[in-house]
């Protein structure tokens, strides 16, 4: 029984991701008392699935892409608030549609959830992100951190999460504590924001849309942090990391050309030979 379960999670890192995101949604509903909006979640996840199914049909993509669509739908449910269900459907169409259309040498440019959120906010004027909805606290860090690190180690993207959080934290510390002179509790409160942590561990780390080469990912993560910091501090945009990721993602193809490496694949090839042919380290 346990072995079957283990196999299920090891076969594809997305399985764990789906379980984690669903758990976070349940946590939001049960513990943080978000208003239960089942139609919204149904439309978001359902539309993502429908769009992906269409893509599977038309573009002859692998069926396993449906798992990614569920992840996108869950991610949108966790982050994006909408006024009407039509807007929810629009977000799903943009997210999955953008994944199929905006491609560079076969790799999609934007994180689907990120693209869905940003464009839906701009286009519909009926959608928003609530950066305060998770609250702030060390518990969140423990939770997100422990859950996500495990998963990211599996897909090899923990580097992006920690680069981003580290650089963003350094910039915030320099500005808030060292320059402005606030106490460290202000800094801790900023960094323990649940939305920031969710973004760091679940959005920016998408293995399909981060640069392929590890070195490129470090630079890229730092760039997202710098842009997010500027947007938050200068332009005073709320949920700045989401906008920063959108802006920096436009240049991900450039990163992939400067630092060459093989693309990520969800299901690893034959396991025993993986180490020998793993092109990422070469």
């Amino acid at each position: 029984m346990l072995r079957t379960l283990m196999d299920f999670f090891r076969r594809d890192a997305r399985h764990a991701q789906i379980v984690l995101l669903a758990a976070l949604l349940v946590h939001g509903l049960l513990n943080l008392h978000w208003s239960l909006q089942l139609p919204r979640y149904a439309v978001l996840i359902g539309s993502c699935l429908a769009m992906q199914a269409m893509a599977v049909r038309v573009l002859d993509l692998p069926l396993s892409g449906l798992k990614s669509a569920v992840i996108t739908g869950l991610g949108l449910s966790l982050l994006l608030h909408v006024g009407t269900l039509g807007t929810a459907a629009l977000a799903a169409v943009i997210a999955i549609g953008g994944k199929c259309v905006l491609r560079d040498r076969g790799k999609h440019v934007f994180n689907p959830g990120n693209l869905g959120i940003v464009l839906t906010i701009i286009l519909s004027r009926d959608a928003w992100v609530s950066p305060g909805q998770w609250g702030s606290g060390a518990l969140l860090l423990v939770l997100f951190g422990s859950l996500a690190t495990m998963m990211l180690l599996r897909v090899g993207r923990a580097d992006v999460a920690f680069t981003f959080l580290g650089s963003f934290g350094l910039l915030q510390f320099a500005r808030t504590v060292m320059y402005l002179g606030w106490g460290t509790d202000v800094f801790v409160h900023q960094m323990m924001n649940g939305s920031l942590l969710l973004f760091s561990f679940f959005m920016i780390t998408d293995p399909m849309t981060t640069p392929n080469a590890p070195r490129a990912r470090i630079v890229w993560g730092m760039l997202v942090a710098a842009v997010a910091f500027l947007l938050a501090d200068r332009v005073r945009i709320q949920a700045a990391p989401i906008w920063a990721l959108f802006l920096v993602s436009m240049f991900t193809p450039v990163f992939d050309r400067l630092w060459r490496a093989a693309r990520f694949q969800w299901s690893p090839p034959v396991r025993n030979t993986q180490i020998n042919i793993d092109p990422i380290t070469s």
């Binding site: 946590h27 009926d126 609530s130 702030s136 518990l139 025993n272």
Partner: protein, 488 residues
């Protein structure tokens, strides 16, 4: 236990005098502290980059002792500062407060908070010009610049900028403001963040000439990307809890807090009839329990509604106070309706209640405007039982339902307020008196819930469980992976 509850900071009516501060001002109470400061009222209007803040002045002490220091992002011009009628706060409060009609008698006052001076400089009028020169000279030597000086209504207003907190603090002390010793840690960041200081005193003679007994609310407007309330200044010398009610108006939808959770007030609950006479106490305890359960660092949504004057929809349900009229909206700083505003001026109203203490709110409140038009109100429902003869079978069924319903109401009351409802058995049992003996014997024994007041579980406990489970699970996966890898 009950006595203790009464002694908690009162939310609805008067409160115990205490040393502390609210929103953005220093405040040092006198020994006999006649000043109340546990509750402040703010009207917040946001339209694009423009923010209008109105601060209610329900100042109880000697007006000579009144003074206020508020950080603002720009040097305000004279036309950016207004004095408005204080009735606007009462009207908005009456319209949007959590509803049970009797609630309103108990809730007459909003409170605001101010820096308190030792004594105003009562130099003779002839010396006024001299005084200004003195002030400016001393300001320059302290790195403080008096950017502007206005007399508006009963208030004398200065806009200060400063180079460093020590100089500003010294200048304020020199000019009669008693500044808490810990003020530096807050003043410094504001100065470095290029904020200006809006400093207000009362001109007693002008006030007497105008015939006002009370200080009227001051309204300031400015353009800025920041949409925030600087609560840290008001907490500089206080560790206690303070309450603030924010009445916010936008064109698009709800206002929510961007750096703390905005949580809905528990609403639409059925509660026992006898709460009617104790509604003030009920809501006070409900709020306290809600705030503690949600982990204290939260902002509570108490009301959200479309109040566009030209909109024909229902403005409240039920209405306990009249919805704001165009004239009141204009007074509150909503400048896109009324004669000068266009016909398409939508107005959405949000009421937020913040209970804050230094330990739970390290950061100033940041807000954002959302397109969320969902309406919300805090509503508690009393249901009177049917009267007359209920001896028929349907009537007996009804009484049975009523019996269980009352059990639920009492349970709800205990859950919401933490009250010990042991004595409330009579409320449930009185239904039995109207039932036939057979029916009465068929009832389940009432299980009266007994709750210990306070002890609500924070949202954290579940998080720990999930986190722990994940760690165990992760370790298991890791071990399984390794044990597999070895033979391969």
């Amino acid at each position: 236990m009950k006595l203790h509850r009464f002694l908690l900071p009162a939310l609805l009516a008067g409160s115990l005098p205490q040393v502390g501060t609210a929103f953005c001002g220093f405040y040092v109470a006198k020994a006999d502290a006649t000043l109340f400061n546990d509750r402040s009222g703010i009207i917040l209007v946001r339209d694009g980059r423009r923010t209008t803040i109105t601060m209610s002045n329900d100042f109880k002490g000697d007006v000579r002792d009144f003074a206020m220091v508020v950080p603002v992002p720009t040097v305000l011009r004279e036309q950016d500062i207004r004095v408005v009628d204080r009735a606007i706060f009462d009207q908005l409060d009456a319209y949007s407060a959590p509803r049970l009609v009797e609630y309103y008698d108990a809730n007459p006052c909003q409170r605001w908070d101010y820096a308190v001076m030792d004594e105003l400089d009562r130099a003779p009028m002839a010396g006024a010009a001299m005084k200004e020169v003195r002030e400016e000279q001393s300001a320059r030597s302290r790195g403080v610049t008096i950017e502007a000086r206005y007399s508006i209504g009963e208030y004398d207003i200065l806009i200060l900028s400063a180079k460093e907190s020590e100089g500003l603090k010294d200048w304020l002390i020199e000019n009669g403001y008693r500044i808490p010793a810990t003020a530096n840690e807050v003043l410094d960041p504001y100065i470095k963040d290029h904020l200006k200081f809006f400093v207000v005193k009362v001109d007693l003679e002008r006030m007497q000439d105008m015939g006002f007994e009370f200080l009227r609310p001051i309204q300031v407007s400015f353009e800025s990307d920041r949409f925030m309330l600087p609560i840290r200044l008001g907490m500089a010398n206080s560790k206690g809890e303070q309450d603030m009610i924010v009445y916010a108006f936008t064109r698009t939808g709800r206002v929510e807090c961007a750096n703390y959770r905005t949580v809905d007030l528990p609403t639409d609950r059925h509660i026992p009839l006898y709460v009617k006479d104790r509604f003030g106490e009920f809501y006070r305890d409900l709020f306290k329990r809600h705030y503690e359960r949600e982990g204290r660092h939260i902002v509570t949504l108490e009301y959200a509604w479309n109040v566009t004057p030209s909109w024909n929809g229902v403005k409240c349900d039920p209405c306990v106070g009249p919805p704001p009229l165009t004239a009141q909206l204009t007074q509150a700083g909503v400048d896109w309706v009324g004669p000068n505003g266009g016909a398409n001026g939508n107005v959405f109203f949000t009421r937020l209640h913040v209970r804050y203490a230094r330990a739970d709110f390290p950061q100033d409140l940041l807000f954002q405007v959302t397109p969320d038009q969902q309406q919300f109100q805090g509503r508690y429902i009393l249901t009177h039982p049917a009267q007359g003869d209920l001896s028929c079978s349907a009537g007996q069924d009804y009484l049975e339902d009523l019996y269980y319903r009352r059990k639920k109401e009492v349970d709800e009351l205990a859950t919401l307020t933490g009250w010990n409802t042991w004595d409330d058995r009579r409320y449930i049992d009185e239904v039995k008196g109207r039932m036939t003996p057979e029916r009465r014997n068929g009832l389940d024994a009432p299980v009266i819930p007994f709750r210990r007041p306070g002890g609500g579980q924070g949202p954290g406990s579940m998080l720990w469980l999930i986190g722990l489970a994940a760690l165990v699970f992760g370790a298991a996966v890791h071990i399984a992976a390794r044990s597999r890898a070895l033979p391969g």
